[in-house]
């Protein structure tokens, strides 16, 4: 399915609805990742490619993206975060074919993706690995181990960093300043791009800039993007949407949807 502005808005609305109905937090990090994941699944991920979500707390955005690609049903989304679901708060073990690994504790996904990429290299198979990390996740030493390893072995991995500037208990720059992160990746020998993580054309172009070898895309994003009361706020990392915030966001996104449809017609 082509990635239209309408589809992006629908996905954002469905994400908010899913989180609101399930009374689940972690909305902010999902909203910062959604455009990246939508661009990846609709504009880049090929038949032989694989994706590992390292920032497992953005599972909601991944589920919505898989739904938009026809890989999860609306009934699946309705079960999100409820008893008996396979859509747990962080990606589950085994039960969703499009999700190779359960992640949630940060600093695991990149190494797992490196293993999958190394297997492709050893077996002479086609395909590229994509892996999405958060920015706070770069506090984890294991990510730097994977960065060194993947570059040393010339693995075909495209790493995306959702750089929203906020982590669990404060701003990344106040906790353990990572900047200049892109320069750090370059110093480790990685081909590094910097994009607006909410501009799907730019994100898509970055995905297609090269299709072999290690590449990192530093995607500058906003936590809570699309929900004015949440944008750039630490509370959005944990707290569920209030009825007022949800209503406000829905109205704004619905208006945008309507305007876009009218413009097209």
């Amino acid at each position: 399915m082509p990635l239209t502005t309408e589809l992006l808005l629908k996905a954002r609305l469905r994400l908010l609805q899913m989180h609101y109905e399930s009374r689940v937090g972690h909305v902010g990090g999902n909203l910062s990742s959604l455009d990246i994941l939508m661009a990846l699944y609709h504009n880049a991920l090929g038949q032989h490619d694989e994706f590992v979500l390292s920032k497992g707390h953005s599972a909601g955005a991944l589920y919505i993206t898989l739904w938009s690609a026809g890989l999860l049903s609306d009934d699946d989304l309705k079960s999100f975060h409820r008893d008996g679901t396979r859509l747990s708060g962080h990606p589950p073990v085994h039960s969703i074919p499009a999700i190779p690994f359960a992640t949630g504790s940060l600093g695991h996904g990149f190494g797992l993706a490196a293993g999958l990429a190394l297997a492709k290299k050893l077996k002479g198979e086609e395909g590229r690995l994509f892996c999405l990390t958060s920015d706070g996740e770069w506090n984890e030493g294991s990510n730097w181990e994977a960065l060194i390893f993947s570059h040393h072995h010339g693995l075909n991995i495209t790493l995306i960093v959702d750089l929203n500037g906020l982590q669990g208990f404060g701003r990344t720059r106040d906790i353990a300043d990572l900047e200049p992160l892109a320069e750090k990746f370059r110093a480790f020998g990685w081909h590094t791009l910097e994009v607006d993580g909410h501009n799907v054309e730019d994100v898509t172009a970055a995905f297609h800039q090269r299709d072999d070898g290690p590449m990192v895309i530093v995607a500058r994003t906003k936590k809570g993007y699309g929900v004015p009361s949440m944008e750039g706020r630490l509370e959005s990392h944990y707290l569920p949407l209030s009825p007022e915030s949800y209503q406000q966001a829905v109205e704004q996104l619905t208006t945008l949807c309507a305007k876009h449809s009218a413009a097209l017609s």
Partner: protein, 301 residues
């Protein structure tokens, strides 16, 4: 045991699914394997967390990764990767820890592995293998090469007495038949202890455990415990999560509780001083003469 390990792995070196990862260890032991395996022998550097995650990825893609390091650098440093990436997903990753127990001796406590299988066996689908003699290593490796579950292989130093022809590798092996106290030993320290018991007049009934967790108790072993009413368990591992605790639990479930139960375990660093593996075993009462003395005392009481 490292040399036996390398020789046995060489037999599978041409298997295209077999991948060996080392955390920058293996000097003067693994060079033949490195040379034979080529690009499937990967020195992952001093980065054990990543090495285990990479292995899980390789296993997910259908390969058969083995991961090697000094035991605690692997099971302790990368415990969360073993838990989440390997065990929760049931990935057939083989973790090989060199220097089980106090194997690294005077190198110090950071290199000792005295809580390894207790920690690992708490994880889903994990099994641990404790070869006791050099001859076990090849059989274990053949077994693990086709394993469909996570596994931990604890390597130590074989102390096989010259007179002993051990049965083929198995979870339970009856090393010495006797009508005296029942003794269970885990891992390579069995060699020295069975030798001392063989040379004594106690008539101990000696069993060797080499695969964990203990799932079933052999009927002959249960009969031995019921007859002797005395069970001593000896292992180079702390009490918590050790073979002794698990056996006691199993015996209770089986309704067989011996009148006397003695559990000789690793006790950490009793004097606060360091020494050889022999030194640490003696401090913990794990050396052959301490074990024989304890059993002799119990028999004469």
């Amino acid at each position: 045991m490292r040399q036996a390990f390398c020789s046995a792995l060489l037999e599978s070196a041409r298997n295209p699914a077999f991948v060996f990862l080392t955390g920058d260890l293996g000097f003067q032991a693994l060079e033949p394997l490195r040379d034979e395996m080529g690009k499937r022998f990967i020195n992952a550097g001093v980065a054990e967390q990543n090495m285990v995650s990479v292995a899980a990825g390789l296993a997910k893609a259908g390969l058969r990764p083995w991961v090697y390091s000094i035991a605690p650098f692997l099971y302790a440093r990368a415990l969360e990767q073993i838990r989440n990436d390997v065990c929760l997903h049931g990935m057939p990753v083989i973790l090989v820890g060199n220097g089980g127990g106090y194997g690294y001796g005077v190198m110090g406590s950071t290199h000792h592995a005295i809580e390894d299988y207790g920690l690992l066996l708490a994880l889903p689908a994990m099994r641990a293998y404790l070869p006791a003699f050099d001859g076990d290593v090849r059989e274990v490796i053949q077994l693990l090469m086709s394993a469909n579950h996570p596994a931990y292989l604890r390597l130590g130093l074989s102390e096989q007495p010259k007179w002993l022809s051990p049965p083929p590798f198995a979870a339970w092996r009856h090393l010495l038949a006797g009508d005296g106290p029942t003794v269970v030993i885990a891992g390579p320290l069995a060699g020295g202890i069975v030798d001392a018991l063989h040379n004594s007049e106690i008539g101990s009934d000696v069993w060797l455990v080499s695969e964990l967790p203990v799932v079933e108790l052999p009927a002959e072993f249960l009969a031995s415990v019921r007859r002797s009413n005395y069970l001593m368990v000896v292992e180079e591992h702390v009490c918590s999560g050790g073979v002794g605790q698990v056996l006691a639990h199993r015996l209770m479930l089986a309704g067989t509780a011996p009148r006397q139960f003695v559990h000789r375990t690793a006790l950490g660093y009793v004097s606060g001083r360091y020494g050889s593996q022999r030194f640490h075993r003696a401090e913990c009462g794990l050396d052959p003469s301490s074990v024989v003395s304890e059993i002799t005392r119990a028999v004469s009481a």
